[in-house]
């Protein structure tokens, strides 16, 4: 058995936490880009494109993330793509995030008075200009709090990628626990590291919410 001191455990966990942070960022950025595309479909004038986007969102919000990750991990190789845990984790979380972000931003678009669209049109802007200059900036501004709130959810969700074999915080902690037999300490520390990442963001989201409701 390898001897682990307390600091060995902490150091190893903190190193592994880099991957949790990196994965969260990659999925948030990827999810933001794909989510924007889904949003365009979701608020389009065409009924079919709206229905397809709603179905996409319902699909991801109605099934467990763990299943989505499994389908990525086992499904992409069937399409002939060589896939590693990192790729499956990033792609899985990206699609997951895109559905939630699109729905959050859609609620922002819906909250705007229709007069905003009319005003844009009367200024001679075409559809894309209206979206870019008038609708989306306001929709993003009023949904900033739930967007940050979702980032917290996404960081916590990265824990599931340990199950498909991505070497992040939780998977490393399982390995350390198997070597040290100190689950109370190891998982307690993992919880603490996640808390240190998520709690400031939760506080920030709450402050944004207060500012929004004060306005």
């Amino acid at each position: 058995m390898i001897e682990f001191t307390f600091w060995d455990i902490v150091r190893n966990l903190l190193f592994a936490a880099r991957w949790t942070v990196l994965l969260s960022l990659a999925a948030f950025i990827g999810g933001g880009i794909v989510g924007l595309i889904v949003l365009f479909f979701r608020i389009a004038k065409n009924g079919w494109s709206r229905r397809i986007a709603s179905g996409y969102i319902a699909l991801f919000q109605g099934t467990p993330l763990l299943m989505q990750l499994f389908l990525m991990f086992f499904g992409l190789p069937m399409l002939g793509l060589r896939i590693e845990p990192w790729t499956a984790a990033v792609l899985g979380l990206t699609f997951f995030a895109s559905a939630y972000l699109a729905e959050i931003w859609r609620s922002g678009v819906d909250a705007l008075p229709l007069g905003q669209w009319d005003a844009g049109a009367s200024l001679g802007l075409h559809y894309l200009q209206e979206l870019r200059l008038i609708i989306l900036p306001q929709a993003f501004a009023i949904t900033r709090a739930p967007t940050v709130g979702f980032l917290v959810q996404l960081i916590k969700s990265t824990a599931l990628t340990s199950i498909i074999g991505f070497e992040e915080l939780v998977r490393t902690s399982n390995a350390i626990n198997n070597a040290t037999f100190e689950p109370f300490k190891v998982y307690g520390l993992v919880a603490l590291i996640f808390f240190a990442m998520c709690f400031p963001l939760t506080r920030y989201a709450r402050a944004l919410e207060r500012r929004a409701s004060a306005r």
Binding site: G62, L66, M67, L71, A159, L160, V170, P183
Partner: protein, 218 residues
């Protein structure tokens, strides 16, 4: 893709789904009860209790469910608390759900006008009766949609408890794909079952809520 294995696997899938339904049913009841107590304690309890509940909510909401589950199942035995997988899963799910629903129930309690409490007190009802008979039913009606969403989210989250060998739907899927070597097809079928379960659960909760809490529940 090949689905020749499916007919022989239906019994396993059904058994797993039944365990998932059992998990979410118990969690819903225990979690809702705990969150009513928690929300009431956070408003009317002594300062120490209020702080304790506040920290409990923050800690659960800012850490992953998987880590909470491992902590309860693997970590607590070193304090002498040993739970079998099913019980550990129920405890973890209940504690997790309550942290979210305490805030929801609390918002509902705040939404009931103070005049309701004053009127009930002036009719001679005791404080506990006022809470149970007057304030709580009105609060539950307000928060019912949010509560429904949280229950569905918890059902989907319960897939994770397969990791401590609770024999629910995901666990059965893991076993099946190890036997059939048809990983993608197995998880595809089980994902569809989850989708059907979450849609059915939502519909059941909405229609049940309409019957119990009256019209206006959506």
């Amino acid at each position: 893709m090949a689905f020749a294995w499916l007919p022989g696997a239906l019994a396993d899938i059904a058994r797993g789904a039944a365990t998932t339904v059992l998990l979410i049913a118990v969690t819903t009841l225990a979690g809702t009860l705990l969150s009513i107590l928690g929300a009431a304690g956070r408003r009317n309890g002594p300062a120490l209790l209020r702080h304790a509940i506040g920290w409990y909510v923050e800690i659960i909401r800012n850490t992953p469910f998987l880590v909470q589950l491992f902590f309860i199942f693997f970590g607590l035995p070193s304090l002498g608390i040993r739970l079998d997988p099913l019980l550990a899963a129920i405890v973890a799910m209940t504690l997790n759900m309550a942290a979210y629903t305490i805030e929801i129930v609390g918002a509902g309690l705040d939404a009931v006008p103070a005049g309701q409490t004053e009127a009930a007190l002036s009719l001679g009802l005791r404080p506990r009766q006022v809470f149970i008979k007057i304030v709580l039913p009105q609060a539950l009606k307000v928060i019912y949609p949010a509560l429904t969403s949280q229950i569905v989210i918890m059902m989907l989250e319960s897939a994770v408890v397969s990791q401590i060998a609770v024999r629910e739907l995901t666990y059965e899927a893991d076993m099946l794909q190890a036997r059939t070597f048809r990983s993608f097809e197995t998880y595809l079928v089980v994902t569809i079952v989850y989708l059907a379960l979450s849609m059915a659960l939502r519909r059941l909760l909405v229609s049940g809520g309409r019957r119990v809490l009256g019209a206006g529940v959506s």
